[in-house]
């Protein structure tokens, strides 16, 4: 196996790979306010990279610096090996889909989509062909003669997407591309995006609020907070091995317990809960001193719920009382009240149809929770 094959789906692991977009120590200040705080990031050809984070954390600002609408206060950006600070937006090999769509109000859908091709002097017949193709892809063929103000929010969003895609840029920057679409169209467009990305080898940088979307779409996710990257990694890494409480909390739901390290070796860590009477046993080692304060996090779906007390085992278990049950169809969420008065979530897949509304456990039932040593994560920040 050559190294190329080995890293084909994960170029960021290949030490020899050359990044397509390289962000080096980029900071953006608006007056005294630091919107993006000295970030470093490499994005590789053909990646579908997601920027995920709460509102106002600097996602759009970072994207605008890539497109050339904002100049970094310091640091530099390389796209395809070229330093971008002196390249105006209209000469950059990137196209952007704006969060507010920025459709040209005086042009109909067709002309909006054709705008970029016209600027490049593409022959008329080819423009017509490509526009028609693109409009049918985003299901807007019947609306080609409408002006933007005659379209619904979702339709406008699709025009914006079509307009950004039509030039087949090397890098496509998408700011919340699917937020206004209904579920069916969103899933279909997600699929289309992945298709286009595979077919054309376009590098995507997608901004989103929606963690589920980030999980399905991306090769890698960068979780942003207050202008900085909290963590960069594949969806699995981010979900299974978050390296801070912020990331763990932001992606999916998680139960977090405070504790102190009681024992730590190269292949396991023991932690005793500070507020709950739990002995945690985690099956990987970390370099932490005994007695240090840490947080142990366990995802709701990784906990087992039973009415029988577990046999013998002492670590990784706790007793509680069912406070609430949420039936979601595929799974049920149990809210369990612990002796410390804290309430934690446990999800149970509904493998068998609950007969006559019969659940594993009922309100006020005393239940036991336990989990595997491989399921918990130790967080130090």
């Amino acid at each position: 196996m050559s190294s190329q094959d080995e890293f084909e789906d994960q170029p960021w692991l290949d030490p020899d790979a050359v990044p397509f977009i390289s962000i080096r120590g980029v900071t953006k200040k608006f007056g005294d306010f630091v919107a993006v705080d000295s970030v470093d990031l490499d994005i590789y050809q053909g990646e579908l990279f997601c920027l995920l984070g709460g509102s106002g954390c600097g996602k759009t600002t970072l994207l605008r610096m890539l497109a050339g609408f904002e100049t970094p206060s310091s640091g530099s950006i390389f796209i395809d090996g070229v330093e971008m600070s002196n390249v105006p937006p209209y000469e950059r090999p990137v196209n952007m889909m704006f969060q507010s769509y920025a459709l040209f109000p005086h042009m109909n859908v067709e002309k909006n989509v054709a705008y970029g091709l016209k600027r490049d002097g593409v022959p008329k017949e080819e423009i017509n062909l490509r526009v028609a193709e693109m409009l049918s892809m985003v299901e807007l063929t019947d609306f080609s003669q409408r002006k933007p103000h005659q379209l619904s929010g979702g339709q406008r969003q699709r025009v914006a997407l079509a307009r950004a895609l039509i030039k087949r840029p090397k890098v496509l920057l998408l700011d919340e591309p699917l937020a206004a679409l209904d579920k069916r169209l969103r899933e279909q467009t997600q699929f289309e995006l992945m298709n286009i990305q595979e077919k054309l080898g376009v590098t995507f940088v997608v901004v989103t609020h929606d963690q589920e979307e980030a999980m399905t779409l991306s090769t890698r996710i960068a979780v942003m907070d207050a202008g900085e990257f909290e963590q960069i990694g594949s969806p699995t890494e981010i979900y299974e091995y978050p390296d801070s409480r912020m990331v763990a909390d932001f992606i999916g739901s998680i139960n977090m317990f405070e504790g102190r390290v009681t024992q730590n070796s190269s292949d396991h860590i023991s932690v005793s809960g500070s507020e709950e009477d739990i002995e945690f046993f985690v099956d990987y080692g970390m370099s932490i001193k005994d007695g240090n304060k840490v947080w142990v996090a366990v995802r709701p779906e990784k906990m087992r719920l039973s009415k029988e007390p577990p046999t013998a085992k002492k670590a990784n278990q706790i007793k509680g009382m069912v406070q609430d049950i949420g039936y979601l169809g595929d799974i049920s969420i149990y809210r369990i009240k612990l002796a410390s008065d804290r309430v934690i979530d446990v999800t149970v897949p509904n493998q068998i149809r609950p007969k006559d509304g019969k659940h594993v456990a009922y309100w006020e039932d005393e239940v036991y929770l336990d989990w595997d040593a491989a399921s918990a994560i130790v967080l130090t920040r």
């Binding site: 497109a67 050339g68 609408f69 105006p88 937006p89 209209y90 000469e91 990137v94 196209n95 952007m96 704006f98 507010s100 920025a102 459709l103 040209f104 109000p105 005086h106 109909n108 705008y115 970029g116 600027r119 490049d120 002006k147 307009r163 950004a164 030039k167």
Partner: protein, 320 residues
């Protein structure tokens, strides 16, 4: 009798209250009609009525009498009303070259002035819109500031500036560009300076109002799609600011065409403009019917192209 009066007295306040509440009810339900009707009524009285009076005079014959024109309607002795309409005044305008030349000269001057105002005002409006909020307010104030002094005074000020011994000539001599004063006053140049100076705010303000609504992100979107700044200007900025350009140009062109004070004071006898002809017909020649015909012809000259333009516009928006 007495009984009826008391009855009336008792009724009166009730009726008044009914009347008031009915009016309130009417205003509440028909407020849109009221809002439209009040200015409409105003225009009817103060624009349309004088217009018809002028139109009537323009169709009359000049007399040495008071008023100095023949009546349009006359009651003959047998009780039959006779109407006398005379188109002589209009054919006279057509036949005498002076009028035709003056109209053309007026249109030429106002067209050129409008273009100059647009070329000056457009970048100014754009700069004002793009400047930070505090500067923006100061710049806007400066555009409006001249209106705080009388228009006539400002034209007199220009007379002082442009005179042979005026500031402009003094400066040019002092700077060594010229040796003897150049004639600036009583020329087309002086008239253009006066008109452009006076009317440029009327160009800037509607353009500013229009550009203020312009979404700057559209320029970014165009640039992102590979459009150079000049192309962006012609494909995005210009089409979107077109309504502002039209509004500003009409606001400059229409009053500039009929301008009287500026050509009279700055142009003297050397610049033919219809406003001065009109003034002369009324006052010097005392020929009200011809003066009225001049005014009506000017109105038609200005209104007809505007209506045509509106037609085209309406059709365009319909076809979109």
């Amino acid at each position: 009798m007495k009984q009826i009066t008391t009855l009336d007295r008792m009724k009166a306040p009730v009726m008044a209250r009914n009347w008031a509440s009915e009016l309130m009810g009417f205003l509440q339900t028909q407020w849109k009609a009221v809002v439209v009707f009040v200015p409409f009524f105003w225009l009817l009285v103060f624009f349309l009525a004088p217009f018809f009076i002028i139109l009537k005079i323009s169709l009359a014959e000049s007399l040495i009498a008071s008023p100095p024109f023949s009546p349009l309607f006359e009651w003959a002795e047998d009780g039959v009303m006779s109407i006398r309409i005379i188109f002589d005044n209009y054919s006279y305008l057509w036949e005498d070259e002076l009028y035709l030349n003056t109209y053309l000269s007026s249109l030429k001057i106002s067209t050129i002035s409008t273009v100059i105002c647009l070329l000056l005002g457009y970048p100014m409006a754009y700069a004002i819109v793009r400047s930070p909020p505090t500067t923006k307010n100061i710049l806007l104030m400066m555009v409006i500031l001249p209106f705080w002094t009388s228009f006539l005074l400002r034209v007199y000020a220009w007379m002082g500036l442009l005179a042979d011994q005026g500031l402009v000539n003094d400066f040019l001599i002092w700077a060594g560009f010229i040796e003897t004063p150049v004639r600036l006053m009583y020329s087309h140049f002086a008239v253009y300076v006066g008109i452009v100076y006076t009317y440029v705010p009327f160009m800037i303000l509607p353009l500013y109002a229009n550009m203020e609504k312009l979404d700057m992100e559209l320029h970014e979107a165009a640039a992102d799609l590979g459009s150079k700044p000049t192309t962006t200007f012609f494909t995005i900025t210009l089409p979107l600011t077109w309504p502002g350009i039209v509004a500003g140009s009409l606001l400059v062109f229409i009053p500039a065409t009929g301008e009287f004070v500026i050509p009279d004071l700055l142009g003297g006898g050397n610049v033919l403009m219809i406003g001065r002809v009109l003034f002369n017909e009324f006052h010097a020649n005392h020929d009200w019917p011809v003066a009225s015909a001049v005014a009506i012809a000017l109105l038609i000259l200005l209104v007809v192209p505007m209506m045509l333009y509106q037609r085209v516009q309406a059709k365009e928006t319909e076809s979109d």
